[in-house]
Amino acid sequence: MASKTPISRSIAVESTPSAIVGVCRHILAELEANNFSQDDIFAVHLALEEALINAVEHGNKMDSDKKLKIDYSVDPDKIEIYVTDDGSGFKPNAVPDPRYGENLYKTGGRGLFLIRSYMDVVEFNERGNRMHIVRYKEKPHASG
């Protein structure tokens, strides 16, 4: 069985939608190299896209002079990512649940819900401009 050395990297990119593409490609390649399943890769891809686009649109307000910082580590058991924007932050608990009432018919507001649905850990710093997400290759609560 191939054993991969854990890696840790930090990337800073300009805050634009096109910069997101390269970041995702880079991180997903690391997951492939560490034998993550296609379900894991799909989940991380979805969560990462949503986290990065939220940071560009809502955090940095589409200001391409601002930066996005992505710190991530991949080891054989999990991937851990921090996404930090230059914005003033937000209150994640104030984001309404998109599944109920009139929110179900809204054209936006599902990104954070999807991140929470597909990742095992989702945390924010106090300011609300840094998201920490983790997905384990095997769910820690899967046995029983």
Binding site: F42, P98, T107, L114
Partner: protein, 122 residues
């Protein structure tokens, strides 16, 4: 100005207009904007359109695409039309399920069942 790459194919069946997404991944804002312009122009071609959106080629999408689908459905319903979705990859169907969008979209397994739905729903 760069031309907009075709991102849908349109087929006119007996009772339905079948719009097939041609891209495997639908992510970037400019792609979603191009899709919106293309599909809205098809919707505007007829009153009471019976549109089937075929996802057979799509393997990945972002939540912005869900927003696009809601905008399309609102436009169609305003014009007394009908919208059906079909051939959705299981991983993408899971996104519809957990966001509860299965409650507001008519989703069919394949084009045949979606077409039958069109002919029996009137």
């Amino acid at each position: 100005m760069a031309p907009i790459k075709p991102r849908i194919s349109v087929e006119y069946a007996e009772n339905s207009t079948i719009v097939t997404f041609t891209d495997e991944r639908i992510l970037e804002e400019k792609d979603i904007q191009a899709l919106q312009e293309s599909i809205m122009s098809v919707v505007e071609q007829s009153e009471r359109i019976n549109m089937i959106l075929d996802f057979r080629n799509v393997r990945f999408l972002s939540s912005a695409v869900l927003g696009l689908l809601i905008r399309i459905s609102k436009k169609i319903y305003e014009r007394d039309g009908k919208l059906r979705l079909c051939n959705i990859d299981p991983k993408i169907y899971e996104i519809f399920k957990i966001t509860r969008l299965t409650k507001i979209f008519d989703i069919y397994q394949d084009i045949e069942s979606a077409t039958e739905g069109s002919s029996t729903a009137d």
